[in-house]
Symmetry: C2
Subunit: 217 residues, 2 copies
């Protein structure tokens, strides 16, 4: 269900308000395009920021990892987290050093992550995580065993207190600088897949399926 976001004081984009967006359609589009988030949490009074994969299912963001990992153990305690997803779209080259910038789309979600304990939800979350990673992969691979499920922790974070921040388009220079003899514009950047590299131990005669050979982000 798409819903209009609560624009909380904590997630409000303050300095350049026109870059702030609070509608779920925009937020979900960014979350669904990215696949790496940076999870911030406080442990022993210190902030930590750890990169990890994620998947969105409806109004929840799922992350997972080894039940033995420090991050999963900390987050399982029900502490507050900040999950940030950042897509870099380009380098913005202005005529002045001061006005250089980046084109990007980012989402910040605040809240408390909750350990998923219900077996069916956990299994569905692992399927979603695999499918978000490489769409079409889940049906081709061996599914998790009981032991593997036990070794994996899955956490969910409700997408309720969230905001997106977006910058697009040309540099914005000071009026006086437009007459300078300096090239200005945008160098676009895109995370691009290369030619798939088969596992050294891949049995002969197994060619990459479409979800690999036609993979794109």
């Amino acid at each position: 269900m798409l819903m209009s976001q609560q624009q909380s004081e904590r997630t409000r984009v303050k300095r350049i308000p026109k870059r702030g967006h609070y509608d779920r359609e925009m937020i979900d589009a960014i979350l669904d395009e990215g696949f790496i988030c940076h999870v911030g949490f406080v442990a022993d009074g210190h902030p930590f920021v750890i990169p990890t994969g994620y998947a969105r299912v409806g109004d929840e963001l799922y992350i997972h990892g080894s039940a033995a990992s420090r991050m999963l153990r900390e987050l399982s305690k029900g502490v507050e987290v900040c999950v940030t997803v950042t897509l870099i779209d380009g380098l913005v080259l202005a005529r002045s050093a001061f006005h250089h910038s980046m084109n990007y789309r980012s989402v910040v979600i605040l809240g408390t992550a909750e350990l998923v304990t219900e077996a069916d939800e956990k299994y569905k979350a692992l399927e979603a995580l695999t499918e978000h990673f490489v769409p079409g992969r889940w049906n081709d691979v061996r599914w998790p065993t009981e032991l593997e499920l036990k070794a994996t922790s899955v956490l969910k974070l409700p997408i309720t207190e969230a905001s997106a921040k977006i910058r697009t388009g040309d540099p914005v220079d000071d009026d006086d600088d437009y007459s300078m003899n300096v090239w200005a514009g945008v160098i676009p950047l895109k995370l691009t897949p290369g030619e798939p590299i088969p596992d050294a131990k891949l049995a002969e005669g197994i060619s990459p399926p479409e979800h690999v050979s036609k993979y794109s982000r």
Copy 2:
């Protein structure tokens, strides 16, 4: 100066120790290849994670932003931060859902950021930030004015408590799964620059300089 890193309890890679690296050469190589970091800090008791540019100069990591931004104001108070830089190198497709992974190189730096107040160091940091963003750019553009310097805060974080985490190579599957009729391997990923897009207001006859037309990461 390259120095061997203190392997602190907080930055030690615990769960898969072979992925942990503490030598400065490795850490610096990752920091110098990336250009976006995620800065984690605690404000009003809540963790926040914000993406921003950075540059390394010797043993210091510099970040900058509007003096008016929430992050810069918070960090200027001398609070603890965690700065994480993540380079995504590929998607690791195993025969089991459980062993899917990512190839990546990441650096985590813990410490307290300090506001740069000395004018010369601040100016040099802004040059380094511009040059790290697009090498060769600084000498082509208009340099910061007194007013622009006042509107910009620069912070530095010593690279003393830091670690790198790296995963490379093929998937690692369970012995029994190698006989499965499933493609396994790596889809490499790379942040790739596209054709430069000139500013709509660019004066006629200004063609992109080499630092733009030959830009690569």
